[in-house]
Symmetry: C2
Subunit: 288 residues, 2 copies
Amino acid sequence: MIIGALEMGGTKMVCAVGDENGNIYDKITVPTTNPKETFKEVIGYFTGKGICALGIGSFGPIDTNKGSKTYGYITSTPKEGWTDCNVVGTFMEALNVPIGFDTDVNAALLGEVYYGGAIGLQNVAYYTIGTGIGAGIMCGGRLLCGVSHTEAGHVLVRRYPGDTYAGKCPFHKDCFEGMASGPAIHERWGAPADELSDRNEVWETEAFYIAQCLVNLILIASPQRIILGGGVMHQMQLFPLIRQQVKEMMTGYVKYKESDDIDTFIVPSQLNDEQGIKGALRLALDAL
Amino acid sequence: MIIGALEMGGTKMVCAVGDENGNIYDKITVPTTNPKETFKEVIGYFTGKGICALGIGSFGPIDTNKGSKTYGYITSTPKEGWTDCNVVGTFMEALNVPIGFDTDVNAALLGEVYYGGAIGLQNVAYYTIGTGIGAGIMCGGRLLCGVSHTEAGHVLVRRYPGDTYAGKCPFHKDCFEGMASGPAIHERWGAPADELSDRNEVWETEAFYIAQCLVNLILIASPQRIILGGGVMHQMQLFPLIRQQVKEMMTGYVKYKESDDIDTFIVPSQLNDEQGIKGALRLALDAL
């Protein structure tokens, strides 16, 4: 079975072909410019490859409600040129195969659940912490979704004591993404994350924001495992700091077997940044 | 069909018999003392009434995982005498009928979904804001539940500017419940909520804490309706303040049809504090 997988990001698109076991046979990257140019290149890549379905994990917000007139669209994104962009319709017309469509973070979550660090688990959260912050959440084996997909990267947070940084989110200023994304770290400390690795205060601050959002998620959705990916999470010194702060903030209130062993409860992705594209394979399978 | 319904609260137990249409035929209240005494009275009430099932909505934390050894127990409650209390086992033995068991707030949510202000909706949140704070959340027609039930009353919150109150939660001090429960209002302002109705600063502060938690829930679970119950929410002047602050905090980021009309989106319970006991009827039906 040859399956198409597309990870739509704000700066680049990853196009791949693979199979139902999560193997990726071929992969290219296309820069994200405007929909017309970018989709032309992406469609060119998949044309003639014999794919039986295409799975798309996309930046958002997107419309994943199949009953909606704008199902398959990117909706109110601040990214210029991409507002009200009909993603599913465009690929359906060009490739004539079933299309699976969900957020980039739900795709990454599925990658972890089917091929990565959460195989067999029914209750899992995946966060990406990089240029933006987002989360995919699975409860009882189903992706958490109300009227719309989760936007857990924009939750309101309490400030780290003494942190006077204004925040980087164009919508909420000092929400989670506004305080803890890669660009927020860069602006607050005057250098990109990977040049700040030895600055302890940077990572204490960062861990504080991440930990409180994990604590709130644990209280709401009690996952068996939380997987953290994205560029900022390549700073491995963050993990012990986050685990320590989660334990302190929980104060023992909610306890369950899986959360007791904090080192296997809060973990890095093990899929080398392929969680999103592997998850897109799964979205394609679900569409078949 | 005669159904038993039991709402287990920290100060009182409501025992009732009703039917599958949400009608309550008879209802009594029993004070919550210790399990032995209290259960004896409750069992006495239901004995001989011919109930075909019993639904129980309980204070918590409780174990709702049917695969667990302690399924049906109240677990780590701070309430003296009630830790590790086998609720389902006790009633099963005494009454010999199927028992439905969930949190008091999930019961209230079901009451609203089947008989109250959210009939026919698939994505709904119910908060009780009173002596404690708790939430029941339904996504895609299913109660949100991971390894354990939600504990959304204890999420960490940002402080209202200038609010120096330490917080009332025995576990987290200044979490949502710690800052916004009835006892927190009483301690912060020196009088119970119902004596403070005309003090605007009290309700601006209270609305700030409630609104931010609703905003975070909207971001995570995008409900079609949010119903607010509990003693504090009898202060109806809170509703316009909460609605206004939710709109301001969202800054238009997440938008969907149901959230646009804020007056029908965030609403009081219409079940006159019977949402919990009516929902318990539903828990009994689900157990049949």
